[in-house]
Amino acid sequence: MYAYVARRILATIPVMAVVALFVFSLLYIAPGDPAAVIAGDQATPEDVERIRQSLGLDRPYLVRFGAWLWDILRGDLGVSIFTNLPVSTMIAQRIEPTLSLMVVTLLFAVSVAVPMGVVAAWKQGTLIDRMVMAFAVLGFSVPVFVVGYLLAYVFALELDWLPVQGYTSFREGFGPWLENLVLPAIALGSVYIALIARITRATMLEVLQQDYIRTARAKGVGQRGILFLHALKNAAVPIVTVIGIGIALLIGGAVVTESVFAIPGLGRLTVDAILRRDYPVIQGVVLLFSFVYVLVNLAIDLIYTLLDPRIRY
């Protein structure tokens, strides 16, 4: 058990190393001269040269990677080209809204999507099932920002139930904090809900075919016991896996959702950085999000052992 945990933790190190190497190498992969692109069209050759130096493009690749990696390990993500502030400081200032948004979305989405998938599987082929499936296809098809605008228009502008945009810090009270996050969380959660509901339904359908479900029914277990105990516990591993993988959707979607609802988080930071071609900031955010993603999925790997007694390495 402990050996398994240790092995899983060690196994994430090469993945993180590859992520770091890849993010670092983007500067070299990207078509064209990044320094010229970042400097902009009005830049003088001196400007381009200055940016080239600040990005370290004038030094050999491996030397530069070594130095960069060493900096990252010490928590130094470089300096913003635009504000000259350390990227880690800029990220620290913006992390709370994004974290809030993602946690609220995650909780909301999972608590909605899993029951949806379970009910759809139970009522397979009925109107309820079809509605869940239709919702799932729509969730995959309507982009986050479209859902965001639609919700904001209906519930904020027309009905005036919730704030149109903005963010209130958690420190200023739970109510205002949550009030501002409701619409963004629903918008951001739409794809995520679709994904989880679909996989829950598919896994449940597969599990409900199993012999042990027949046994449970023959024992006189009720519908709720069959679905939420006998079946869902067996379906848990694939569902939890997708919840983890789907975090990538949340991260990508957060960038856009924060723009729509004017939430001053990491997504906004990224978008602002794009408009200013502030590459070190983008690099820092990408790196941070990727590491978080890897760690979340590591945590989920470890949760498996709690969900399924057969997984004991």
Partner: protein, 335 residues
Amino acid sequence: MALLEIENLQTHFRTPDGIVRAVDGVSFQVEAGETLAVVGESGCGKSVTAMSVLRLIPEPPGKIAGSIRFNGRELLGLSEREMRDIRGNEISMIFQEPMTSLNPVLTVGWQIGETLRLHQGLDKRAAEARAIEMLQLVGIPEPARRVREYPHQLSGGMRQRVMIAIALACNPKLLIADEPTTALDVTIQAQILDLMRDLKRRVGAAIVLITHDLGVVAEVAERVVVMYAGRKVEEAPVGPLFRNPRHPYTQGLLGSVPKLGSSLTGTATRLSEIPGLVPSLKQRIEGCVFASRCAHATDLCRKVAPALEAKAPGHLAACHYAPRESRGAAAMVAA
């Protein structure tokens, strides 16, 4: 009044390319404490019959018609909730696949205890204590330790013992065992059969044994129902059936079982096989269901479905050409 009275049972399934008539007009009775075997090839509808009794057929795509009376109570009219009080309590079931019939993520003790909690209202602790007793009863060593284990930690034979423990936990009046030994090693098969016989004596339950294994039938059954293509083609006490099978299908079945020692006594014959395939259940079959494979089939057989008739007292068969016994009053029985 018999314990279980099945009358004109029909279980049909809707599929994209037609309706499958898995069971089409089957009737039989089970007396209290009796062991009845239902035999036939795979796909003859014997398992579906068993599942229909407990109403475990998903509806839709399935549909059950006819009448199933248990203790005089019509099961087909009961609500799902009322059915649940019967399942695992008054009628319980053992399945063929011990490897997959237990829930892999719940402990063995929990799964035995669940029936007791559901039907007898035991609390968690009492249920576990009773689960340990049940494990002991079905001959699992170290029950106090095993009760906390998961199914994957047990062998196939042990898992089937656990299934039997679950089925008998509430002292049911009827136990339906669907191929309970088929997936097990031969030595384990004998142990499980012994266990079932032993427990039947203690609990006094009637058993419906679904099997294709005539050896098992000869060993444990008192009466036999032979099914073919969703119909009952013959029914008789076990002795007469083996000595004097009336239906050509039963004769074929018996002919395909090797007899131990027959090569020594010089009575060895070739193992016969029944030529042809079970007909598709998606089309309505005109005439006798067995006609397409019967060596003796005539135009009459292909046109007119034979009724089930008492060929001898207690011996029913559905064949135009099976002779009635002259002695005794062989009354016609309309199926």
